[in-house]
Structure formats: C-alpha cells, structure tokens
Subunit: 280 residues, 4 copies
C-alpha cells in the first residue's frame, strides 16, 4: 500500500474533479485527502491536491504518470504525481546562527520531515559536531562576501539535492547560481516581509518601534527577499525588548515558519502561482 499525491492546475471548468476521481477509482485507489482552490469558478485558474492510497511497488509511480497523461492533456494541465515513499533530498545551507539547523535536524530525526538530508553545508565550521551527531555529511565551504564560492557550493548541490533550504544562510545567492541550480530554494527571512528586507531586520524593527515582529519563509528568486511567501509567523514585543531580545524572540517565529514551509513542501502541499503560493 503506497500513498500518492497529485498536484494539478489548469483553467477552471466543469468536470475536473469528476475526471480525476474517476481516474483514481479506475486504477483502484482510495482518495484519503483532497483540497482544491480556484481563483474564480467562472474562468479562473483551478488548483487541486489529491492524496490517495493504492497497492503497488516502486515502479508504480511511472505507470501512473503514463496513465494520467491523457487526463491531464484533456485539461491542458500543469501537474505532477508523487509517491510519498520517494522522499525529496533536501540540502541545507547555513551560516552562523544555528537555531533553525538544530530544529530541522531534530524534526528530521524525529521522523517529522518527510525528506532526506544529503548534507549540511556551512561557511561556519562550528556546526560540524552537531551534524556529525546525526551521522550526516558536513561540508565546510568558507564562503564570505568577497568570495562566495558558488561554483563549489553548486557542485555539492546540483546532483545530490532536489531542493535547498537556506536555514539562515547569510550570503545572497547570485542570479547565476539560481539559474544553474534551477530547482526550488526555500529561505527563512528574519523579518516580516514585505517589511524589513535585507540586512539586520531586527535592528530595523527596533528602530521603527514596532510592537510585533515576524519571520517569513519564502521561495528564493532573483530579487532579494521577494520570492513567493510560503509561511509567516509573529511574536509580540514591547519597548523593553532590546535588539538581543528581538533576536531571541524571533527565533521561535523563524523556526516555526521554516519548519511549516518545509513540511508543506516535502508533503507536496505547495503550488506556486504567479508571485504567490497556494499551500494546501
């Protein structure tokens, strides 16, 4: 018994759900979860996520991909179909702050992130011991503003990962890197986007005197802190909080937003659409 997920989008019209559910019935599957969304039921764009169980072995996904093609073509859909047992390979890039890394490794080890971690890569050697404690490869790449060592990093990531997580990686990845890697990258920004882009968001928040701080997990695109937002979390603050207090309180929000985003991603719950995300 395997669990599959279909992510599917097309122009909205009648009969999509009927066709998809009929397909799943005919192959002997049982739908165990379904969620759909339309920007407008009359002429809008339609999105659906369907989770179903089905007998089968490792080869089953290929069979299904072939079988589903005609259905998808009928609706001129953009789609994919995933076997939840084939977990995504998540490469982690991290700089000095380690709270997100600690949290991700904990969750992964507890079986709560449906992903593989081929490696942790950092420009900060101090995480070696922590990563070794989980028997995971650790790559130390001493990148900094003057030498971002992107080709070196790319070499580690390109084949070995399905997506990357920037778990507080403090160097901006170049458009060239994004182009060459050409897969999804999820970043945690320690500010409440679209406020407080760029460096030192907590310092910016302090200066502005806000009463709530936030963090934002988002897909990376070529514009700094501008990709589609996946998850946001907040913490209340007061005049008493120093910059150090904001950093400390913000960690909760960062960990929660990033874990939520990654968890949604590896469970195939996210569809990107224009500059936004549908998170089922």
């Amino acid at each position: 018994m395997r669990k599959f997920v279909l992510l599917f989008q097309c122009q909205d019209r009648k009969g999509i759900v009927a066709k998809i559910s009929d397909f799943i019935l005919k192959i002997g599957g049982n739908i165990i979860a379904a969620d759909q969304y339309s920007t407008d039921p009359q002429g809008g764009h339609f999105f659906i996520r369907v989770e179903f169980i089905l007998d089968g072995g490792r080869e089953k996904r290929q069979v299904l991909l072939e079988a589903f093609k005609p259905v998808a073509q009928e609706f001129n859909a953009s789609w994919n179909l995933y076997d939840q047992a084939e977990t995504l390979r998540m490469g982690i890039l991290v700089s000095e702050p380690d709270h997100c890394l600690v949290d991700l490794l904990y969750l992964w080890n507890a079986g709560e992130l449906n992903a593989q971690i081929p490696f942790v890569l950092s420009n900060c050697e101090k995480h070696r011991k922590l990563v070794a404690g989980y028997n995971l490869p650790f790559y130390y790449v001493p990148a900094d503003k003057h030498n971002r060592r992107e080709s070196e990093i790319l070499a580690y990531c390109l084949e070995a990962t399905d997506f990357l997580v920037l778990a507080r990686y403090m160097l901006v990845l170049s458009a060239d890197f994004l182009h060459k890697y050409n897969k999804d990258i999820i970043n945690i920004h320690h500010g409440f986007l679209p406020s407080f882009k760029g460096v030192d968001p907590y310092g910016q928040a302090l200066k502005k005197g806000v009463k709530v701080i936030g963090s934002t997990a988002h897909f990376v695109d070529a514009q700094l802190d501008e990709g589609p937002i996946i998850a946001q979390e907040v913490e209340y603050v007061s005049h008493k909080d120093t910059r150090q207090d904001l950093i400390r309180k913000g960690r909760h929000a960062e960990k929660k937003a990033l874990a939520h985003a990654i968890s949604s991603y590896v469970d195939y719950r996210i569809i990107k659409h224009e500059n936004k995300t549908i998170v089922f």
Copy 2:
C-alpha cells in the same frame, strides 16, 4: 446561478468522491470547494463537504434532493444538500451580558452571517432598544431560576427557527426543552471546556491561577457544558488580572469563538459525529 452545499457521511470505501463528482458533473454543476475527512481510509468513517454552483431557481434544491438519493443509497450514507440562498433562521437567546449579542447583530447586519434572525429573546429587558435598532423583534421573557418559562420560550422558537444560539443565556435549558425543540442549539461557554464547567468559570480560573483563559462554542446536549465542541479561543492572562479583567479579556475570546461557530454552522461546514465535530 445558485450555490449548493452537500454534506455527506458514510463508511469509507473506494469511489465515493468519483461518484459524487460525477453526479455533480452530470447535473451541470461546477465544484468550487471540497473538503473531506476519514477517521481511517481503511474501514473508517468518511465525511465530505462539497460546494458547487449550478443554474437554477428556488425549486432546484428539491430536484437535486431527489436526484441524489440513489447515489446516497449506494453508500448507505447520511447526508443533506443545501441551497446557500435559503438561509437558516437563527433564534437568539441572551441574558444580561450583551457583548455576544452586539457582535452577532453587527456581523449579521454587515452581511457576514448567512442567516435570518427571526427574533432576539431575553430575560433582560435592557436589550430591547439595541434589537429595535436593527428592526428585529424582541421578546422579553422574564425567566429566572425559579421559573424558567420554557414552554413560553419554546412557543417562540419551535416553528420560527431552524436553530438556536445561546449568546450568553444564563439559564440551563432542561432535557425536556431540548427534546421538544429537537433542533441544534449552539452555546457559548465562557470557560475553556472541559475545564471550568458550570457557574462562574472566570472565578474558577482566577482561583486556580491559570495563565490562559478560554471560551468554548459547543452544541448543547442534555449534560451541562458537555455537547460537541465547535470552536475554542483563548486569551493570555497574568497574576495582575482581577476577576473583572478576566471577564473583559474573555469577551474577545467569547465573541470570536461564537461568531466562528455560527458562521461555520450557517455555511453548512459542521458535521457532528459521536461527541465531536468535524468543522470543514
């Protein structure tokens, strides 16, 4: 163009979604939202809510009810199908505290509660003016612990309402009343059930020294504060808060939980199952 909602439950098995969506396609409908839940995909209990649009007039619902019967019978399902334009009639019972009443009337007037309000009934005459301001009937029934005047209340409610809301009605309705009314009743309890049942929950919370207070919207059944929970909301408190502060802070939680529960109910999002609710 009308919007219909199907609420449907049966033993889980393959093909339910396919059958339902095929039915909707054949009658010319377009599914605009769907949510499902199963206690266990293998042999559990299955629940689904489907929202679809369809051309048609007032008589359409009767046609659909007939047409859907064979589908439902095939799965031995418990179900109903609603026309969202046929709004439910919500009778409001309230005692002295008026914050929930004020909130409900505001939301209703703003078009945010998809319901009719045939009347507000109270054992406290002071609400007359407020209710008159919305051009709604107000029934003053001076019920108290010694004379609950239930037959009088029942006379107002029985034919004129589809369900009742106890928006801080401080008298317990008897099992006999519940039996005779025999429709849903939603209560807001100003405590975080299952803690703090019965009288003066804020006083109980204060005595216990809790750091979070809550409120609970739930269906009424014959046991006091024991029916299926629909929605809960919380507020953080501290040692500084007096009983009066808890009452004041608690109002937020009460209003939010009750509005959420009623809104879910009138949009046909709630299915009761055993002593719990599925809230889609």
Copy 3:
C-alpha cells in the same frame, strides 16, 4: 480616595525612584502600581509611571502639581500628574467603516474606556442612529477629497476634546490641521506598518501573497502612516482569502489594536519618545 498617575521622564541616574516614592509617602499616598524603563541604566533616558491612591477632593491635583515641581526640577524632568477621575475627552472621527466605532461605543458604554466622548464626527451620515442610541452628539461633516472641511472639523474639536481618535477616518488630516489642533491624535491603520502604507492595504497584502495581515494603532504625525506605533495586532490568512475575507478578518485586528491603544492612552500608560512609544 482618589487615584493619581505620575508620568515622568529624565536622564537616568541614581535616586530617582527613591525621591519619587519618598514624595508620595510624605503626601500620604500609597503606590499601587509602578513601571519603569531605561534605555540604558548608565547615561540613558529614564521613564517611570507610578499609580498611587490618596485622600482628597477635586482640587488635590493642583496641589500635587505644585508640590511635585521641586522634585521634577531636581532631575530636569519632563512629567505630568493626572487624577484618574478627571477623564480625557475623546473626539471620534469616522468614515464609512463602522466596526471600530461600534466597538469603541460598546466599550465606553460598558465602562471599559476611562474617557468622555463629546461627539462622534463623520463624513458618512449613516452612523447618526447608532450614535444617537448612546445619547451622544453626532456631527455630520460631508468632507471628501475635494473639500476636506478641516476648519469646520477643527471648530468642533479644538476646545471640546483632549485628543482625537481616527476610528477609520479615510481622509488624511493636513499638516496645517495637526499644527492647529496640536494635541494627540490616534489613528488605526488597517495594515501592518511599516508595510502597506497608504490606500487599500488589504489589496496590497493580497497582491503580495502574505500569510499574516495586521493592523496598527499609532499617533498621527505630519507624515502619512509614520507616527509612533502604539499597538499592533495580526490575523493569519491563506491563499483562499479574498480581499473581502481580509477586510473581514482584519476587523478583529483593527478593533483589538485600537481599543488597546486608546485604553492605554486614557489610563496614562503611554510616553512618546523620539519616534517610538513606551507603553507601560
């Protein structure tokens, strides 16, 4: 027995609390609450709020103001001393959206806002009935973008109010108005400042695809949506929420932030400092 509040700020140094509490002891008062803050205990700026009870009649405040002067001079302090029985006069300006107005009038009537309301002024006549229901004066001033009628509004406000609340007043008050009124004005902005300034913040939020929306209560200054922030509240949203949903959800956050800000203000809990607020 009257309750007084001292708000006091000066450069931080040793002995301030001792001097103030000694003063209160000597006049026969009992401190019932105190809160202090320093930007830096060594050479920073010091703020304190002290609440104390004391026997006395209406004239007592004048006596205390005189008596405290030498203490304040010793520290070269900026300060004021309030008799909590002398409630502030709060003028309310409001345009079409009425949720904040409804909430404020409810809270005021329930005795939860320690303020007087000399009038509600609106460029939208529909609120007349609601305001009349509370036996408060209602001034209809049909201001719009083309004719802001600020001198007319000023005439109502200047003598009769101690501060103004813009409870969703949709016209920007000019620098000239602010200069002439020259007292505090509290605004509720339906966006999470510093994001989403200006018009249609919910539309902006929707376009950006944020997962949390917010509202901000702040003092008004000459720059649009830029004055010191007093309170912020948030609500979680998803891809499913339409602009109308954001407006609806946002109302909770607006009401909560504005009520919190006003309540802090009338209880003399706020000190402005540079472009920020200390909210005790």
Copy 4:
C-alpha cells in the same frame, strides 16, 4: 558592576517602595527595573521585585543581606536578595521524550538560560550522546513504575542542585522525595491544566474533541499536576489531527511554556503565593 534582584513580600501599607528605594540609593545602587503587585492596596498582600546595579565583588551579596535585614523587619517581610552572577544550579530529569531537553540544552548553550546544569538524569539511556555533546554529566538511572529508585535520584540532586526541572519525566515523584529534596521542582505537563491531568493528556484531549490543546509549566507539589501554574501555552487543532499530530503540535507549546517558566525562575521573577504564582 553587579546586578542584584530583591524579591520581597509583606502586608501592603504605605511607604514600602520609598523605604526600599531609599535603601538602594544609600548603598549606591541604581534601580534598573521594578515591578510590584498588591492583592489589594488597602490591607492586601504586597509583592515587589527590584533589580538594581551596584559596584562590588562576590562578597557583596552577604553584605547586602545583612544591611537589608532591618528594612525587612520593619515590614515583617518575607524576602531574598540575589546576585545575578551567582547562577542557580538546575538539575534536569527526563524520560524518553527529548524535545524539551534538546530545547533547554540549546538555550543554555546559547547563553539564554541564566543557570548552571550540574547534570542530566534520565531513565532512558539514549540521551547520553546528546548530553555528552554539551560536555555535561549524564546519569542513567533505570527507574520505572516498579522501582522508582528515588533514593538514588535524590543522592544526585540533593547537594548538587538548587532546583529541579522535570523536562518530561514520566514518573511521579513521591511525597517523600519532595519532602526530602525540599527545594523547588518545575514540571512541564503536556495538558492544559486543570483539564487533562494525569496520563495521556493528548489522548484525553482527542477523545473530548477539543479545538485547542495546551501545556502547563508548574511547580510540583504533593498532589499530581496540582502545584502553582507558572506558564501556559496553546496550539490550535482540528478534527483532522490524530493523536500523533497532537503530540507533534503540543511539543511547541511544551517547549515554549517550560522555557518561559525556567527563564522566569532563574531570573528571580517568580513569587509563589498560596496556590498561585506572581510572575513579574
């Protein structure tokens, strides 16, 4: 320059703050934070926490303790005075679930818990490696329901710790142990007390169909899950959440409540009073 904290309680009356602040001025201190609370300014019980800075070495605390005695006697107060550089020794007891342990060790290592950790003691050997990674002693004591090995545990704790944290320690400590240890013990209960005492609170919550789960950090006393509550945190849940989901979501609330409670404790922010806590 050292930072001291005074915790002080007595019957409320005039002049307490004046006396204390005068004392601090005379010894050359500068008050940097103060918080007070009274159950009733007229004849109630008064509590105050004062934080001040002062020049001095390690011996200073003894000097201050002597010097303050006459002040305290004047008010017949219960009090203590702490040097924040003399950090408390926190013994950690933990069973199989490790999320609180991981969080506490992370926070401690990041310098965010003002405490020493003389050891981690567990009846589950698997934590040895994690604890060793922080260079802390790990004591494996295979206690279980049939043999609680309390004298063995007590031998580790009695001299070496100032207080204990039960970071999900699943065996109830006997009244005899509590009596012999005779210092504070902080427990995290994975339920929203006073609801869901005892075993499997998430299972209880699931059965009851609640829509919010919570966790409670509290002092341990002889009655199970009944000691004074220090901090509570909540998470929203739905019908979709399985027992496993509640456990997963609950971890957030448990970590947050426990970290908050311990952090308040080691910063001398908590006063126990009757069966409640004042948490400044």
